[in-house]
Amino acid sequence: MATVKPKPYAESKEELISGSEAIGIACALADVDVITAYPIRPYDTVMQYVSRLKADGNFDFDFIVAESEHSQFEIVKHASAVGARTFTGSSGVGWFYAFEAITVTAGLRMPVVAMVGNRALDDPGAFGVEHNDAMAVRDLGWHLYWVATAQEALDMALIAWKVAEDPRVLLPFALSCDGSFLTHSQAIVQVPSQDQVNRFLPSYQRGTLQLHPDNPITVAPQVNEDWLMEIRKQTDEAMRRTSDVIKEAYDEFREIFGRGDPSPFIEEYMCDDAEIILVGMGTLAMPTRVAVRRMREAGKKIGFLRIKFFRPFPAEEIRAVLGKAKGVAVIDRDYSYGSPSFGGVLFHELRSTLYTLDDRPLMLNFIAGLGGREIKVRDIDQMVETTQTAIDTGKIEQETTWVSVRE
């Protein structure tokens, strides 16, 4: 009989790891059954790490390196159907190459957890972060979460399986991680013990939906117009239910692991009495928080709201925070060509969210950090200044501003 090597995470301990490595460790702790891969930067850093865990005998799973991203996502979808816990991911145009498989994963209610290592879409070929790649799943029934730190990457991955695999939900979960700033920077991360994780994360039970010889079913028939709307409505209801499931899972996580912001959906930073609130997603939180702190020291009432969940979009929470502000400066690390105000995706989503308020703040949009360009503290100071001018004059000169672009 084969001897079983003891799990390497007997006790909670600190590790110096990148965001990608943190997700790799989360895969081991969650005892994922099937991981598929196809190399593309920055997602490949997860592949490299789980390969090492497997080679060292620290994590036993089926590792399938597919011949393309499309197959990569097809394989986890099928594995998920037979009851395997799955993980996969990609970046940029690799994520787009998998798109047919990505849409059906949500359509079939497969709780696949995927990491999108955010990368600018070609052309030009570039490696740096841009959020447009992950944004593409926003209308498909995927959870879409923007991670800011390596610790959060590990924690949210664990929460992702718990939420996605919940029988009330059964929807895939995309963890969106900024290329470079998160995927390639090593930080001190508290890695939980296997015991803690086991208490938090139950095994994946697909129940009567599981594809198995003992449970003969057909999955994914072709349908016509008599059927499709009802199926879409089911997915819609699952997405509506997931907010409560996320809250439940998050509270339980905080109780067991003893960390995490109060809300799973948003992070408020000095927003309480803020007249101007900056809004953004992902690692740009770092320079933004520093800029806010410095402006507060100078007596300015500035706050920062980080949107963590983009899907489901936490409209109520956001209204409660932004409704009190005079001005809102939205930082988009993405862009939507030809959109209503020629601006970013997050901006339009937020403007739609605030439309129902009686007293709406002024809203300005800043396009920044595309392709991995660094968003600097002085860029954020400039955004606040522009927003302040709009408040003072009661007039928005220019709705969308491209920050630090060479003329």
Binding site: P124, S180, S185, Q186, I188, M286, P287, K376, R406
Partner: protein
């Protein structure tokens, strides 16, 4: 309250593991001093190319809040210590993302330290290192450059010796005690701990005064804006080449005004024009079209274009006609053929010295011969 930053400038692939070992061990050791830190490679260097200058950073702070402040600036604009693990890069560095030529000490703070592994002395290195407006210290670790491959690591204790030196020149970053304890914990190797201690004890620094060093202006260029760039991702082809020196004979290919390869190479070919049989192989096989065809039909490696890959040496059918020599041996980029034309005897002497030196002082991308590792360890022990 303090934030300290260290950069490691290294050759892509060949020294990746070395750089990673250094920055990670800094953060681990600082943890023993109850500090918090982060370690990361510059993303634009990746995927790394063989031998292309690249950077990794370690940032160490007293508190998590300070760490956040420092991370708000992703690429450090100034560092307390610059570590250069290949002395040829003292000439300045060009990442493959092309920022022009950056002096090796550009980010080094006033009063900070530049650590270089080298067999050269300070005066010799300062012929290459660009001058600064502010003083800093120079610490030299006597050592042959430590190169390995992608999957192998040459565990010659270069990392340990640098860490020991670092504790001496920047005790505020991490104490020697913390470093020794951490290295013992991370590696379980008593000899590595001893290497750290030995390097600490032997560290000698020399202050480099403002204005001291190489006075040339580093190569730079302005990047175009969206209004001046061509649309549709178009890059114009280079104009066709012309005869050597503008004459009718020979051929010099057109070359980019902007993208040069100065310190990108860690070695360069030295040509023996007397033995060249004009077979054209170096000219044909060079991936960077770096050979100029001279009026007399010889091949002259142009140092604006050579990335030091060594293909010319490998394909040349004549023994010792093309020899790759450490870039640290050269102070200029002038034409070898023109030097040979002017003074054939002088050129021959110069070339013979370099070629012989290359044979005894190995600089290779890996190991030069079986047993080379053991030999080098002995040499370094003596140093």
């Amino acid at each position: 309250m303090a934030t300290l930053a260290v950069e490691v400038v290294y050759r892509g692939i060949f020294q990746r593991t070395l750089a990673r070992n250094i920055v990670r061990n800094i953060v681990f050791a600082a943890r023993k001093d109850s500090k918090i830190g982060t370690a990361f490679g510059r993303y634009s260097d990746s995927p790394e190319r063989n031998g292309i200058p690249a950077k990794q950073f370690a940032i160490v702070c007293d508190t998590a809040l300070e760490l956040e402040e420092s991370l708000a600036v992703y690429e450090a604009t100034n560092v307390d210590v610059t570590i250069n693990v290949d002395d040829a890069m003292c000439k300045g560095i060009e990442s493959w993302a092309w920022y022009g030529l950056q002096p090796i000490n550009e980010l080094t703070n006033s009063g900070g330290t530049l650590i270089v592994t080298s067999r050269q002395d300070a005066d010799s290195l300062l012929e290459d290192i660009h001058q600064k407006d502010t003083p800093y210290d120079l610490a030299i670790i006597p050592s042959t450059v430590s190169f390995s491959g992608l999957w192998v690591y040459k565990d010659d204790h270069t990392d340990m010796r640098i860490l020991g030196t670092l504790c001496k020149v920047c005790p505020d970053l991490v104490s020697l005690e913390a470093m020794l304890e951490s290295i013992q914990e991370q590696t379980g190797s008593g000899t590595k701990v001893a290497s750290v201690q030995k390097a600490f004890d032997r560290t000698v620094t020399r202050t480099v005064e403002p204005g001291e060093g190489n006075t040339e202006t580093p190569f730079s260029f302005d990047m175009p804006g969206w209004k001046t760039m061509e649309e549709g991702l178009v890059i114009r082809a280079l104009p066709q080449g012309a005869g050597y020196g503008g004459g009718d004979e020979g051929y010099v290919p057109g070359r980019s005004e902007v993208f040069k390869k100065w310190s990108t190479r860690s070695m360069r070919p030295v040509i023996n024009f007397e033995t060249c049989i004009k077979c054209t192989l170096c000219w044909l096989q060079c991936p960077d079209t770096c050979f100029d065809v001279t009026p007399d039909g010889l091949y002259d490696a142009n140092m604006e274009s050579c990335c030091g890959c060594g293909v010319c040496e490998a394909v040349c059918p004549v023994p010792d006609c093309v020899t790759m020599v450490s870039e640290s041996e050269f102070n200029g980029n002038d034409s070898q053929w023109e030097a040979w034309q002017k003074d054939k005897d002088g050129y021959d002497k110069w070339m013979t010295v370099l070629v012989e030196k290359q044979k005894s002082e190995t600089r290779t991308h890996g190991f030069h011969h079986v047993g080379g590792y053991a030999d080098e360890i002995n040499e370094m022990e003596e140093a």
